[in-house]
Symmetry: C2
Subunit: 271 residues, 2 copies
């Protein structure tokens, strides 16, 4: 689906070919996942991480109030929290961040290969959606729809930390994120596994709600303003639009994802 | 629908009874609408305002690039823009604001009374949803679904300016916002006009998708974390939940609004 532009600032461009030596095979993690911590803050985001045995916590900061609330809710963190004042947490975040007295430094979660996804029904594929609020909200909605995985590109995607993690409200611990170097090849791998690959595109020939769909299904969404890239579009089995009755035809991309997931779940339930 | 907490900082409380002298009849505008300008920025938000004859523009700031783009797209503003450097616009906004070279100071749009809404089919009622990104995204989706109006409370609602206007991406010019002092009385006024009033509540007895609905319909959404207030809940004809198949049951409130509007539009189409 072609969406309105969310951010106008171009991301730094690498030299053509400049990333050639950074190519990695599908079992490698992103370089930023190896050493850099994920910063998780906010009640739901941190407590979901504490409850995830696959999430290695490096440090846990909590205010006195948050420690009390953890005790009241019967949550025993894997390590004793460092009790700090609220402003010690706030100082590590942007001014508008709502941390609710909890911050964790953790390892990044591993990125599964498309070939290794277990029992897939629906996966969501994000074609260079860069806004972390939107990607976080999409993750949260994906968790609500029992999506098997999110597929994103290694470049032009936000990191699974900070604002994205907060907006995901715990969904990072539930929905695996498969990072691919090349999205067209990622879509080819999905097709090899039997996925029907449907791209959302405002100029698509079919109304998504009228499209026959079956599991396993990959729904592909582009960035607001840019939509799907040409190579992505060409790699889809079908291109479909969301028909909307009103004066403004474009939705926030996370709202578009929610509608597409609802429509697809209905269609698969009928199939 | 009961949603997860979006903001933890309480808004400043007024003294009990301290706002008694600020009561106004339904034809008055909010005090902040009389004098204070709405600050609109971003391409879609500002150009939609320029195209709206009901929107009085006080000042228009544009970068050279934006002036060129306005000319290229055949847009003639009602007044000559003041040509400024991008940082002169940025200095008036938060650091992460994407202004795309356009900023307008305008009058606030008038708030219609519920009794004066023309040919209503669906209205959305927001019960103290405070986050301006969420309310903006809800407005944008409401415009896409041809919603007749949004009803909000005078207190504990964000102003129709800045971040809200940017997230709405032009929808402020399309969807009227009816501001009410007392939401229970507002819902009573909707019922008098024949509306079916359906509140979204995670503990509601019915699945929204299975509920019989007809126009005119009012869908009521509460804030993330708090849900509908008791008085709001009591004023609804029906309370319904959104059934979701996944591990996380709560959605970002704008995504919940998008699904509710889709489901309601389908139900009304069937009725």
């Amino acid at each position: 689906m072609r969406e309105r532009e969310w951010r106008s600032k171009p991301r730094p461009q690498r030299r053509p070919g400049g990333h050639r030596h950074q190519r990695r095979d599908r079992h490698e993690t992103r370089s930023d996942e190896i050493g850099a911590a994920a910063i998780l803050y906010g009640w739901h985001t941190v407590t979901a991480a504490l409850a995830n045995p696959a999430r290695h916590i490096r440090r846990l900061l909590a205010t006195e109030n948050a420690v009390r609330r953890l005790q009241e809710e019967g949550i025993t963190p894997p390590m004793a929290p460092e009790v700090v004042r609220p402003d010690a947490i706030a100082a590590r975040l942007t001014p508008d961040a709502v941390h609710q007295g909890l911050l964790a430094e953790t390892d990044r979660l591993p990125s599964p290969a498309i070939e290794d996804l277990a029992a897939p029904s629906i996966v969501l594929v994000l074609d260079q959606i860069t806004d972390p609020h939107n990607v976080g909200a999409i993750l949260r909605t994906a968790a609500a729809f029992a999506v098997s995985a999110i597929v994103i590109t290694a470049r032009h995607s936000p990191e699974a930390t900070g604002v994205l993690a907060k907006s995901a409200s715990g969904a990072l611990e539930v929905v695996p994120i498969a990072v691919v170097q090349n999205l067209a090849r990622g879509l080819a791998a999905l097709k090899e596994r039997g996925f029907l690959v449907v791209g959302l595109d405002s100029g698509g020939p079919d109304d998504l709600a009228a499209l026959q769909m079956q599991a396993p299904l990959a729904l592909v969404l582009g960035a607001e303003g840019k939509g799907l890239r040409q190579g992505t579009r060409a790699a889809c089995d079908r291109l479909a639009r969301l028909d909307l009755p009103g004066a403004i035809k474009s939705l926030n991309v996370s709202n578009a994802a929610a509608l597409a997931l609802y429509i697809a779940s209905q269609a698969i339930g009928r199939a």
